[in-house]
């Protein structure tokens, strides 16, 4: 295996779980998340040497992932949204409050536009800076700020999430 292929293999091994989690938050579906990450990695591989030279590879892969998801949302699964219904997780004891919040979160994520969802996930879950999110989405930092504000406003509509969001924007 040459150095380039080895570098790609190491990247996949190190980051595939993190990428899948992000994809799961974007899609709300593990099968789609896996498909999305594989698609993004497959698009990155033939250009890996150039990506390594010119860009942060993870930023590049995440950019492909978000753009691909936007395309899929428009074309392949138009009109379908992740179900806000809770899967059959156990909701025992003091987990009930968190489960309720997750139900609300799932519904709220489903109500966001693709770009709002991407900004929220990349900014809050992946902890990227506004500048990094702007690079992923290929837009201005101001657009990231505005989109994040819109996303949080939608989350704030839920009483269960409002408290979290209020703390978020302080």
């Amino acid at each position: 295996m040459d150095a380039e292929a080895e570098g790609f293999a190491q990247f996949v091994e190190a980051r595939e779980r993190a990428l899948q989690r992000t994809a799961h938050l974007l899609t709300g579906d593990w099968a789609l998340a896996e498909d999305l990450v594989q698609t993004a990695l497959a698009r990155a591989w033939p250009r890996w040497e150039r990506i390594m030279r010119r860009d942060d590879p993870e930023i590049y892969v995440r950019r492909v992932m978000v753009n691909t998801w936007a395309t899929w949302s428009r074309r392949r699964w138009r009109g379908e949204k992740p179900s806000p219904a809770l899967a059959d997780h156990a909701a025992a004891g003091d987990l009930a409050e968190e489960v309720t919040a997750r139900i609300e979160l799932r519904g709220a994520l489903a109500s966001l536009t693709g770009r709002q969802r991407a900004v929220l996930v990349l900014r809050v879950y992946d902890d990227l800076s506004e500048a990094q999110v702007a690079r992923v989405l290929n837009c201005a930092v101001g657009t990231v700020k505005a989109t994040m504000s819109q996303a949080l406003a939608k989350l704030r509509e839920s009483p269960q999430l409002a408290g979290l969001v209020e703390q978020e924007v302080r």
Partner: protein, 426 residues
Amino acid sequence: MDRRLRDLLSAEAGDPPHQITVEAVRRRVARRRAREGAAVAAAALLAAGLGTALAAGAVGNPAAGPAKVTRPSTVYVLSSDGTLTPIPAATSRPGKPIPVGGEDQVMAITPDGKTIYVDGDGPNTVIPVSTVTDTAGKPIKVGRQATQILITPDGKTAYVLDAFGTITPIATATNTPGKPIKVGMTTGSSNQMAIMPDGKTLYVVSWTPSPLPSSSYVIPIATATNTPGKPIKIEGANSVEIVMNPDGRTAYVLGASRTGVKIIPIATATNTAGRPVSDGDAVGELAITPGGQILYIVGHGPLGVVPFATATNTPGKLIKVGGIADTIAVTPDGKTAYVSSQPPMTGEPNCAAQTGEVTPIPTATNVPGRPIRVGCVPFFLAITPDGKTVWVSSGNGKVTPISTATNTPGKPINIGGSITGIAVSP
């Protein structure tokens, strides 16, 4: 950023049920590369003023098992340009393409060879194509995004599995869909359903993402009633593919885990999973010889193929082929396995500078023969029922016949688009 919203998102993000391996990515790159290479070639031809567009290479499901020989074979080639092109094996001259629509397609042919079912234009339909008249019938509504079509040995039912874990049975006599069967999530691999030789039980690999950690199952479905039976739990691995031994006694599940690949035998008499056998580190493709003695695992390593002795449940020595192994087909007499492979991918597609191969492997010795050079991205393989010809998608929208008597390639036949599957009618 406040931790509470992030924690809630983290909980919602969950834990991925499957590991994404470099091998899985590589297989996807192979599909992309075939198309991109074709596009490059087509653009070059157009730039050179050669007129009509050439097209892509590519992918799809390997052909189903051998069918009864009743008349001269016709090879059907599915293309991403939305056509199914018949090629009489006797003349190797392509006929008029049949419009079927669609892009990412799968197909299956009935045992009598009279009908081919193709997933249609849009994600929700399957199209029956009459091989008698070479015309497409009325689209049949099924679930979303078909990933495999399996036809029962008696030819009466076509089962269409979609990427979201729904199986739609289609009565082939009337081409009407029955009540969908839910089986949980599926993997998107080529062989997710397998059927008993008597057609009474259909097995499907499945997994459930919640509650975490995810669980993996094989679900038996009684074809008489189309009702799922008690799921067979697969411990320690996510089931990916399944193949049936032609003797009907055992189904073999390819399972992937973070520590490697496992083969799990399922006893069909009791519907119980046997002890998993660890075998390598890559998810490949499965094929079994007609006699059921050898299960071949492709993409192992991804250097070649591993023969798995079904009598003893033990993997044999790795059979290396040139480049990276992709798909496999076994001749109806069980004497030779053909494996397609292509050069390692380390850069942009370059069909002008690289050559793919098909390697014959005598099943008696498992010593690879001299590789047959075909096109740049060979992928799909289908063998005629008389065993005389292997058809392979060879990149740039072409298919190439290979004589099994001499293991030499014939003249490539231009189809166009990106080849997404090959089937042979009896």
